[in-house]
Symmetry: C3
Subunit: 682 residues, 3 copies
């Protein structure tokens, strides 16, 4: 990128009256330099089958061109027009709960051939209209694509073909891997393959979900191939990925393999929504940013994030600006709001844009003007920030799915509510707050050795090769911190028959045969100081096979078992965390693991978040972000270690003031400081 | 009416053995002078298609005639017989969840032509049997009619025809009003009109619900036309309306427009069920009564209310009688129990009647005997009570539906639980407790000027004409108190593009561009004394455009915005309440608004409720109702103002004792006093 | 039985690799002498239609034979193979929610003729393979059979035929009994009989559920007849009954009439699962054991119980052994785990067996070795224990169903959560904790007189004959304690028209006309000492008709009504408990009732549970079970009364030490003592 992009989704189609001119004017005033258009507007672009009308699209591109605002064009395929459904009812996906009804977006079968036929045609026409336009800088494939649970007959047939390949037509092998003998689920011929929607077999079910993720990858790849036929070299292809949704962007996306799906793109993109007001911590912005930056190992686009959003998200003064810089601090090259104006009809009426329904200036818009100005003035120092993190967290779609089938805290009286992302975020959240920046890696990652410390949360379902690879990583000198449930099942969610933690036990030097839900269990430790609070949710009864027991359980029933262990294996160390703990306890364990791996960090702690990167001038940029309603202090160390404050001077980018090593920085409430210096990122 | 009606629904068909004679005897002993029969008994009246047997009906009318008990005949159409469903399965409505099953009442498609054919026939036959009977005083059309979510193909076709008329065949206009471009929902030809059951568009969805309400009006009107062909001049037509149901009668009925549907009737009727025992406050009796009295602006019938009801409703000694007079105090001309005897089978077994399953005398029956005697003795003083309230509350089905689609407190992590009726009852409940009697008016009301003070709770969806009419009302000297969310959307639930509060802002002298869910927000005020408690649920950021800010928000994030404002506009004043508050705060605001509008009231407060009316003798009747287990005191002011106690003498109707102005009345627990006087209702 | 059976379900089919030999070796080492095989393995036994492969079965029987381990063979019919569903989709039951999907067990229509054809064939083939085998000691019919809500057209037709017989083709009689006139539900010809799935009529609905229970009885009987054609005299027929499931075995099974269904068996069997760790009380083991022992009035098999189970069930040291003896103490002749090894796939992966997924020794297995050894050494003293309880609890499927339709605490705002089993367990639990052992009897029980005291909890739906029989029992000298809701409805769940408690009022000497949900109601009593705590959930307003009022309600609204009464009737006494109370209050009432009936018990109270029986040597066995993490003390009375400690000496079976009367026994945490003596069971 040549500049920071600052913009919004813009739906001229949805406007209650023509105000393109005023909108462009207000955008310019706010420093907006990019809009995203066209996604979800199929019924406007193709009002009748085969009749195309791109006048809205063209009109907006024209106006933006005049105003020197760039445009990202989205393919409109994630919401189908009524005429298509009327003619081809099977375009709507058949799911576990029956045939979808018309109305919502993302209700179609993305493998339906009629749908694909029309989708290809409308994409090609749209590309013809837009690809040659100067200010069109890139294309977004579809939007937040999923498989939407599609499981009709065609999908099930395709799944069977997929299984035939997977198991080389060997049903015995499949029955064995999935354990289908159980409850008479054995499949003795391909012809009798049952409707997979009703399966109670977690292995078969998880494989179907993996197949559904593959449908998403295939679909996006198919769109990318079409777009590539038209687009210029300088135009990018992206997609708006999203995350596990808990009313806001929470964790690893269960329905998409971001790493796989992103391969067809030139730059990754995502939307991040998060709690605000008193609940604004920056954690979701950092988590989503770190993850999506890792997907293609580089800068990424924030294609959507909240402006005013819901009444619970209306930002306090300063928050919108703090949020914008938080994205940049994670490596984003854009901050784009969803959306420009608030909608006057339909379900997202209260998902408010930068402008309220009255299109008038408001506090959020006024703050956007400040952001826009600063981005324009400072953008060249902030764009294309490069990070060289020494920590990585290994995340796995397969483990997430596995723990959906077998939630960590489920029992017959309780469906369980602790899933994979609860463990991932439990770890991530504490690392974030102690200013330990990290990348994310995936099970296929080949260069583990670039990291000094790898966290492996609840790697429940993994192939043996991956576990061995982790052993090897430690042997070569890496530091590993794995948690409970890791190594438990193979890639088919079949529990391993080895003593647990299976395979990984080698580097961990520990084993266990039993586990329990802790009740009144505490930790005791001579290693850690002041270990606090009880163990919760899940505990494994660790027995050392060479590892040092750092902490053990304190409980009448199961005294004597280890809870946290560390093993020296080859040139590295492997720490195992056999239970879930409270935050303070986890902080102690994590701080120790970081120290053990020799990771240095800033001395500040949340609510002061410190994030770093190297800019196009080869300088180090350090953000001090204050996520609190109080003034906070930070010290410019001159070098980003906690050990030394000797070092280089820096410049406060916003004020232009020079900052000396050891100088104390004041950070206003919900505000930030950005320092540029020529130090080395450690 | 010539007398107070006191009675019960009576189902001779359901009796486990013949005891008509004993029942009539017990009724007489209890002073019961009316029974309602026949509704829901279709399978008894027409055991086979075209075979009629009205012997149960005739038998009961005969017996009642002999006993000089009047009869209200209900058409039996709200529960269909098995033979009809076997022959015409589509008689059962197709709803969002599929085709209804046989079993429950109110499961049919009220537009199905087969159903209507049979319904007309059975009504005509029933009328032939009963219309000429001397003691048949009126007819009830169907019962608690709704559309029951009917949404089959025929209904959807009819809806499309309705839309064609509404938009004069102009699809662009419809697409614009409903904002159907969003998510590709645009309808580009009538032929492709999609199944509306799946829509996510609140405007289209709300319009369908409005259409469904129209089906109810049409259906009742159609029944009324049939009944009118047979009934005598002196026989009334009524219907048993009910209210939003939350385990008891709670608020405005979402599925019926009472004001429209009642037009075909000669007198309005309703059922009111309410919490009892420690939870008996009279609020539901007053709310339902005030609303149903307003529907046809006159006295009304309570066609059903609880006798013993559920085990949680078993009345304490005195409560049954207190309840009976509470209905009369709101303007009811009847108190009829559901029902005479408790049922021995089926779902309403524990919805107990006046008699328990054993048909023996019990405490409730013994109390009914007292009520019956008093009604007979005092009825001529209590029947046909006329009220001249100076306060009205404007209620709107459209706003209710709008806030179903967009609950006030919904966000992506929370479906929201605060709806229209929560705001209506929030206001009504406090007015009730401060003895400020009121009427209800509807959006089409033409004589607003008869009221000195109009409350407008959350008028979310309203046509511009109504908002202008409210401006005009204030300009002419009226007093208005409107709350947050008013004026926000138009009659199609399309959010207005004007600055909010749209249109109404003119009389209110205030505007806002943003709103939020309050968290730790309090009010501060120099105007109100001792304003207490935090703001909750919803707050708008009010900016004065001429109005006086009566209270403002106290909060770091959004200091400086107004919360409660008052504007002098023309000859009147307009108060705006921009947030939801606790009860004590609301009391202060409401007392002030009443004072500002010059409304005088009794000095008593809940648990002493004072309600008034003028009787056929031109005298004022004042009820002092004690909703508590303790003796309470009240003062007969001699004139119903809080300013003066000079005035007229009164007579205690029950004891016959004379009461002097200024005299203190003792009211026993769960008891009441009724004073008749010749004062002027103020 | 000749010995105590100690074993596990064993699924060689499900093993991830061949380890039969090691498993047998480990079983031997643990003293396991029986395995249960084959149930649920249909797709392995009959991989294709008509192609049979019993090699897994034979192989296991062979190996067990060599190891002198007995085998129980289960018919595999409760999980259908995929080929059957593909060929005959209607094998899957049609229920209230539509056609079941393939995947789960217990999803089929047990009346479907295709299913029955295949089931019969596979059972016959299995019997041919196994019946002649020496170490096959018995057969289990199907598993946890229910009707699974089957309600397809064929089932409804059969139900109509059932009704025709029940009512001798007299529809008027049926309409009357079920009260179908209500809401036009009257059935005027058999041809129009509606789909019963939608009924709102509790009588019709309950009758359908009774019919569904009959389907279970018929199905098991049909299987038994087939098995009997093959089995040897010495081989038993059993079934694995289970209980109302609330995440563990809770109460009377709603969907099966155990007493009826067990008639075709030679010995009753059951599974019992229960909370563990801090929540282990033994109550579920005792409850299930007492009930299943009563079903055929003799010893029974525990065919499944938890070994490690779920993470919340992982036993503390000692608990597995305590549990094993708890079963024996109730009269079980076997303790069999579900299951031997933990499963590596599908849905019960965390329902862990004795072995974890790693098949290694673990703490549970090590404790099993102790149990196995002790069972082998002491088994002859503990097998075939006979009880002669003087107390019985009358349980009724019909009352359970009745109170499903009409939950005790339901009202329109609350669906109700207190059902029949809540009342049964409320009583049972306190009796259990005060060491009052009891049997269960059913409505058809003919020898009530063998008991000194009969408890009748909430006998809501019962024929008049049963109520009269209870009157007669009291008249003859029996002691009865009945609770609220008893006698209320007849066997068709039609509320009786008599004064309540209907019929039973004769022996109880009490009546009531009204009832309520208590709120702030307490008890007052001159009879009981220190009666504590409030009344909750439900209260009847008792009026004495001769009975002594033992306790009355204290409440402003309904003072003067009785709450607990006792009547002398004939030679016996009848106590009535008209409300639900707290545990302490109930204890006082129950202790008094036991005393009144002259029931003597041990002096110990929970957490020390004392249970007794007579063994094959004619000696009395007394178990002292300590359900706590603390050492507890008990006194060997030498005679099991609370009045006297004169008596016989005993031998501690485990230590072999002699115990003198009056001697204090120490019982270690989660441990037990077993005394054998020659005393008389009182």
């Amino acid at each position: 990128m040549e500049k920071l992009l600052y913009g919004a989704a813009y739906y001229e189609e949805y406007l209650p009256y023509d105000r393109l001119e005023q909108d462009v004017e207000m955008m310019k005033a706010a420093g907006i330099n990019v809009v995203r258009i066209a996604e979800s507007t199929w019924s406007t672009c193709e009002p009748k089958e085969g009749v195309f009308d791109f006048s809205h699209v063209t009109r907006v591109i024209d106006a933006m061109e005049q105003a020197e605002i760039d445009v990202i064009v989205g393919t409109p395929t994630y919401a189908v027009p009524a005429w298509m459904v009327k003619k081809h009812p099977k375009v709507l996906a058949l799911t576990k709960t029956g045939r979808n009804l018309y109305g919502p977006r993302q209700n179609m079968d993305i493998t339906n051939t009629d749908y694909l036929f029309y989708a290809e045609r409308v994409i090609r026409r749209l590309m013809e209209q837009t690809a040659h336009r100067k200010n069109v800088i890139g294309f977004q494939l579809d939007n937040e694509t999923k498989s939407y649970g599609t499981a009709g007959e065609n999908v099930q047939k395709a799944f069977q073909e997929y299984l035939k390949k997977e198991f080389e037509y060997d049903l015995d092998q499949m029955n064995h891997q999935f354990g289908l003998d159980y409850w008479s689920n054995r499949v003795n011929s391909w012809e009798e393959f049952p409707d997979v929607r009703g399966t109670i077999n977690g292995s078969l079910g998880a494989e179907f979900q993996k197949f559904q993720r593959k449908l998403v990858t295939d679909f996006l790849n198919w769109q990318a191939e079409i777009v590539k036929e038209y687009k210029r070299e300088d135009q990018f292809i992206t997609h708006n990925f999203d995350f596990e949704w808990r009313g806001y962007s929470y964790g690893v996306q269960p329905e998409v393999n971001h790493f796989e799906a992103a391969k067809c793109m030139t730059i990754a993109g995502a939307d991040i929504y998060h709690p605000s007001q008193d609940l604004l911590t920056g954690a979701e912005i950092a988590f989503g940013g770190d993850l999506i930056r890792s997907v293609k190992r580089g800068n990424y686009l924030i294609l959507e994030t909240e402006a005013q959003g819901f009444p619970g998200w209306t930002p306090y003064p300063g928050q919108l600006r703090l949020q914008a810089y938080s994205h940049i601090a994670s490596g984003a090259n854009s901050v784009m709001y969803w959306h420009w104006h608030s909608l006057h009809n339909a379900v997202e009426t209260y998902w408010k844009g930068l402008l309220s329904h009255d299109f008038a200036e408001n506090e959020a818009y006024r703050e956007a003007k400040i952001i826009g100005r600063e981005f324009r003035e400072l953008g060249s120092h902030l764009v294309n920030l490069q990070k060289q993190n020494r920590i990585a967290i290994l995340v796995s779609n397969e483990s997430l799915t596995g723990l959906e089938w077998f939630p960590i805290d489920a029992d017959p009286a309780n469906p369980g509510k602790t899933g994979y992302n609860d463990v991932v975020r439990w770890l991530y959240h504490r690392l974030y707050r102690m200013n330990a920046e990290c990348d994310f890696i995936h099970p296929g990652c080949e260069d583990l050795e670039q990291y000094d410390l790898i966290f492996v949360p609840a790697l429940y379902a993994a192939p043996e090769s991956l576990l061995k690879r982790l052993n090897e990583y430690v042997a070569k000198g890496g530091h590993l911190l794995a948690t409970f449930k890791s190594g438990f099942a193979d890639e088919y969610v079949k529990v391993r028959t080895q003593v647990q933690p299976a395979v990984l036990g080698e580097c961990l030097g520990v084993e266990y045969h039993q586990f329990a839900f802790p009740s009144n269990v505490r930790l005791k430790s001579e290693y850690y100081q002041a270990l606090e609070g009880p163990v919760h949710t899940f505990m494994e009864f660790l027995i050392s096979r060479g590892a040092q027991v750092l902490a053990a359980y304190e409980h009448e029933g199961w005294d004597g078992y280890g809870a946290v262990t560390r093993n020296h294996y080859g040139k590295g160390t492997a720490t195992y965390l056999g239970c879930m703990t409270g935050e303070k306890t986890l902080d102690i364990i994590l701080e120790d693991a970081l120290k053990c791996a020799g990771i240095s960090r800033a001395a500040e702690r949340f609510p002061v978040i410190v994030r770093k990167g190297r800019n196009d001038f080869g300088k180090e940029i350090v953000f001090y972000l204050n996520y609190s309603p109080k003034v906070q202090k930070a010290v410019w160390q001159g070098k980003d270690t906690i050990d030394s404050c000797a070092g280089v001077e820096a410049v406060d980018l916003i004020s232009g003031v020079e900052i000396k090593p050891g100088e104390v920085l004041e950070i206003a409430p919900w505000n930030l400081r950005i320092l540029e210096n020529s130090g080395t990122i450690l």
